[in-house]
């Protein structure tokens, strides 16, 4: 304790030391944020390099893979927040799957018990809960690290699986779950498959894509309004006369988008694009004039000297270099230039890398300029937006697929317009620097509703196929029930962690067990229940595996515990406990599944995927470390 004394002494009075952290900054230190950014980057990457990744069939494919991984990562994340590990979490999935098959086999045959599934499935759950209880109790009673205790459980389960499989069947696989008399009912519970290829939605209400587009737009609009409400300082009395400007602007923007979606993305869409962009920008400005306080210092002259100027020059240079390289290198050339790269590949990497770097440099410069001169900030932001628009048009003129020409183009232009609009707003209106509970609540409600609406749109898109997709995509869209278990478990577990007493206790026993115990938290019981949640999740995944294949191999699940832990860590869960989130672990699982499936989609050798996973893990840990340092800054 003595070492902390100087730090405490150096700290000034708490009020000056603790700067106000706005909702946006608070969002940035959430545990999930790293995973969310990672997921977006990886998604865009595979979307760009493969054809199937962005389609319903592609999403179906990697969500299917992420389901069993995700169910387990969520449980493992809860346990990790509680400060413990479970290395038997992989083996238990195979063990429960195998046990249920053995229990329903006829008596005498392979030593089976001949139970109906209605008996065998609950018995298997009880078995799993006993394993979890034993793990937890051993860890608590002996005070041994959970790493050691569950490593032992892992080997016991692994040995038992192989031993019993060989003993009863002479093979390393147990088969015949579908022999059970009540298999039909239970297959609906654990093995249901929903084939969506036949559900084509082309014409009603203008077809799937229009409904999807409208929901996405409404969602984005709500999100933007919510963010504005969170970001800016409210006027004491809103200038009601300006309200129509906001309404008309946003309405024009929505109209432009609907019409834009109705065109095929090649001909006269520029007109609707301009209507959309101008409408959105006017709407945002109108909203600002209506509701927010004006900046007093908005007239300070533009000043591009010192570090800001250097960064602007470097950023502009990087973008220019990227554009020039993009223009002079042959986009079709497959000539190898070393390091496994073709000219085409090098062009793509240099192009994307230089332009992203340039934009980041420009935005950084804008941010630091904003502290002194609002005009300089706006000038630099406009430069960045203009550069992005130029790049978008170059991409559009060169691209040979609709994906880049229409969708990518629209997203890039949209990003540039948003950036510019926010730039104008920030240089015109006062950003909030003090708490405002009313605005916080309203902004958060709007933003969350927006996200929910946008996700509903996404779900519409994933639930229905179009004739176009059915014709161009190989493979089927088969939604397995596992995906719904994954989503349902994510919601339930997140509620449990964030809204219940048990969740609070989970954070507490992982963060500071002695303090928790001191105030009356039943630490041992909390941890044991967490171990039991992990093994119960293992049971669920075991059932999903067993019903999917009707047979279970002896080595199923062995070694997967590391993937669960990686997914949890990628999702921002701290290895040392006390911090993390269920949503993060779910996103972590989706990231892993996207990389596993995206690599073969792209036609690369899937041996590389572990390299990919390793790199993601390392990055995630670095980000987490940084976040932890921020969250614990003063201690």
């Amino acid at each position: 304790m003595t070492t902390t004394a100087p730090a405490a002494e150096a700290a000034a009075a708490p009020d000056e030391r603790l700067a106000y952290r706005g909702p946006i900054q608070r969002l940035l230190i959430r545990p999930e944020i790293g995973a969310l950014i990672g997921a977006a980057v990886i998604w865009v990457f595979f979307w760009a390099v493969t054809d199937v990744f962005g389609t319903t069939a592609g999403v179906n494919n990697y969500l299917d893979v992420s389901a069993s991984l995700g169910i387990m990562s969520i449980a493992v994340a809860l346990l990790m927040i509680g400060g413990e590990f479970d290395l038997s979490s992989g083996a238990i999935t195979g063990a429960t799957g195998m046990l249920v098959v053995l229990l329903v086999k006829e008596v005498g045959e392979f030593g089976g018990a001949g139970f109906p599934l209605s008996v065998a499935i609950p018995l298997t759950l009880i078995f799993a809960l006993i394993i979890g209880w034993a793990n937890g109790t051993l860890v608590e009673k002996t005070a041994l690290p959970s790493f050691i205790v569950t490593l032992a459980t892992f080997f016991i389960l692994r040995g038992a699986k192989l031993g019993f499989a060989k003993l009863f069947t002479d093979k390393v696989i147990v088969e015949g779950l579908n022999d059970a008399p009540d298999h039909g009912f239970w297959e609906n519970v654990f093995g249901a498959v929903w084939i969506r290829n036949d559900h084509v939605w082309d014409s009603f209400l203008g077809g799937r894509n229009v409904v999807y587009g409208v929901l996405l737009t409404v969602g984005a609009l709500l999100l933007i309004v919510g963010v504005l409400e969170l970001m800016f300082q409210r006027r004491e009395t809103p200038a009601q006369a300006r309200m129509p400007v906001a309404v008309v602007g946003f309405a024009a923007g929505v109209l432009g988008l609907i019409l834009l979606a109705a065109t095929d993305g090649t001909s006269d869409n520029w007109l609707w694009g301009i209507v959309l962009a101008a409408g959105g920008a006017v709407g945002m400005y109108g909203m600002g004039a209506w509701r927010y306080e004006r900046r007093a210092d908005s007239s300070a002259a533009v000043n591009l000297t010192g570090r800001v100027g250097r960064n602007v020059a470097m950023g502009g240079g990087a973008i220019a270099l990227g554009v020039v390289l993009g223009l002079i290198l042959d986009a079709e050339s497959q000539t190898e230039i070393g390091f496994l790269l073709t000219v085409q590949g090098f062009r793509a990497i240099a192009y994307a890398g230089l332009i992203i770097t340039g934009v980041i440099l420009l935005l950084g410069a804008a941010r630091s300029a904003g502290k002194t001169s609002a005009r300089t900030q706006l000038a630099i932001t406009s430069m960045a937006a203009a550069a992005i628009v130029v790049v978008a048009f170059i991409v559009q003129s060169q691209a040979d697929s609709r994906k880049f020409r229409a969708e990518f183009f629209a997203v890039i232009i949209g990003a540039a317009v948003l950036m510019l609009a926010f730039g104008v707003l920030r240089s015109t209106f006062v950003e909030r620097r003090k708490p405002d509970a009313v605005a916080d609540k309203r902004g958060r409600t709007l933003a969350m509703t927006g996200i929910a609406v946008a996700f509903t749109g996404l779900a519409v898109r994933l639930m229905w196929a179009t004739t176009f997709e059915n014709e161009t995509i190989r493979g089927e869209v088969r939604w397995r029930i596992a995906v719904f278990y994954f989503i349902g478990f994510a919601i339930v577990a997140s509620y449990l962690l964030l809204r219940t007493k048990f969740g609070s206790w989970t954070f507490a026993v992982g963060g500071n067990k002695n303090a928790a115990r001191q105030v009356g938290v039943p630490a041992a019981r909390t941890k044991t229940i967490l171990f039991m949640i992990v093994s119960a999740a293992g049971w669920l995944v075991g059932m999903l595996i067993a019903f999917r294949l009707n047979s279970v191999q002896a080595n199923v699940g062995d070694g997967n515990e590391f993937f669960y832990i990686i997914a949890a860590v990628v999702g921002g869960n701290l290895l040392t406990g006390g911090y993390g989130s269920v949503i993060g672990a779910s996103i972590g699982a989706v990231i892993m599944a996207m990389s596993f499936q995206g690599i073969p989609f792209a036609g690369w050798n899937s041996d590389w995927r572990f390299l990919f996973v390793g790199a993601i893990l390392l990055l995630a840990v670095l980000v987490n470390n940084y976040v932890r340092a921020k969250a614990e800054a003063a201690s």
Binding site: T4, A5, A8, A11, L18, F507, G520, A631, A634
Partner: protein, 289 residues
């Protein structure tokens, strides 16, 4: 005094096997008063806390809470009688938010069945108000306790104990890990708690922290009580003198002088030490006259 004291210790002793950890300790704490327990390392302060917090049972002597003789079996017994302990380094969970820490283990809930959830608004509002009563403006109760300063973290634990109906607050070396300014902050909260009618037992090895806030002083040295004084029965210098054990201090001064033969810098130190000791001695004598 007509009312019985909140907590009274009468001739308490504790033996661990053949080790005598504490002998013949007598003191009391009244509502709205601060009793300071002073002692150097190994003086028996931890044993003293453990007995009144219910973690250990005394071997001899009696413990009275509001006049009733009690024997604690567990910390929970002590807690139920309103005796709350704030340990210096296990007080809070740094990565958890202020309101979650405040209500940890006693979260208010609403709803029923599977929808029984923590009432965040209520919890967060109460935490904010209670902290405000201690003079700390927590603007955002969602912020992690780890982002608070050391003194404020202690005060979260103090405010929590006070809110949950503690009548006697035992503070285990709340200032020992803190700098000068932060210690001052904690002392302020101790006074705040006292003014709200709590009895505070403030355990410390720093007489300079104890003197300004204390109404009663119990001095421990090597497991023995060196005395139990009301504030008007003792001076600050006597307190310092007794705490370090006057005779021992004299012994130490001599030893230091002997060891410093041939070492100039050490000799210098020894000289200073001796000077300060004599000064202290003189001041104590002056006070006595």
């Amino acid at each position: 005094m007509s009312d019985p004291a909140l907590l009274e210790l009468d001739n308490i002793s504790k033996y661990y096997g053949n080790i005598i950890a504490l002998t013949g300790v007598t003191t009391s704490v009244n509502a709205g008063e601060v009793t300071c327990v002073l002692g150097d390392n190994g003086a028996g302060k931890s044993t003293f806390i453990k007995i009144i917090a219910g973690a250990h049972q005394q071997s001899e002597g009696t413990l009275r809470v509001e006049g009733q003789e009690v024997m604690f079996d567990s910390p929970r017994d002590a807690l139920e009688l309103g005796i709350a302990t704030v340990y210096q380094d296990l007080a809070v969970v740094p990565l958890m938010s202020v309101w979650r820490n405040f209500f940890l283990g006693a979260e208010p809930t609403r709803g029923w069945g599977p929808f029984r959830r923590v009432d965040q608004e209520k919890a967060s509002g109460i935490a904010k108000d209670e902290m405000a009563k201690m003079g700390i403006d927590i603007r955002d109760t969602e912020q992690a306790v780890g982002t608070l300063s050391g003194g404020e973290r202690q005060s979260v634990a103090i405010a929590r104990a006070a809110y949950f109906g503690a009548k006697v607050l035992i503070l285990d070396e709340p200032t020992s890990a803190l700098g000068v300014k932060q210690s001052g902050v904690v002392l302020k909260y101790i006074i705040e708690a006292r003014n709200r009618g709590l009895g505070v037992i403030f355990i410390t090895h720093n007489p300079n922290h104890a003197w300004p806030v204390g109404d009663r002083f119990l001095i421990l040295n090597r497991g023995k009580s060196m005395g139990n004084f009301a504030k008007d029965e003792i001076t600050r210098d006597e307190l310092i003198m007794m705490m370090a054990g006057g005779a021992e201090l004299e012994e130490l001064t001599k030893e230091l002088e002997a060891a410093s033969a041939g070492d100039e810098s050490l000799a210098h130190l020894a000289e200073e030490f001796a000077e300060e000791f004599h000064e202290l001695e003189e001041r104590v004598e002056d006070d006595d006259h």
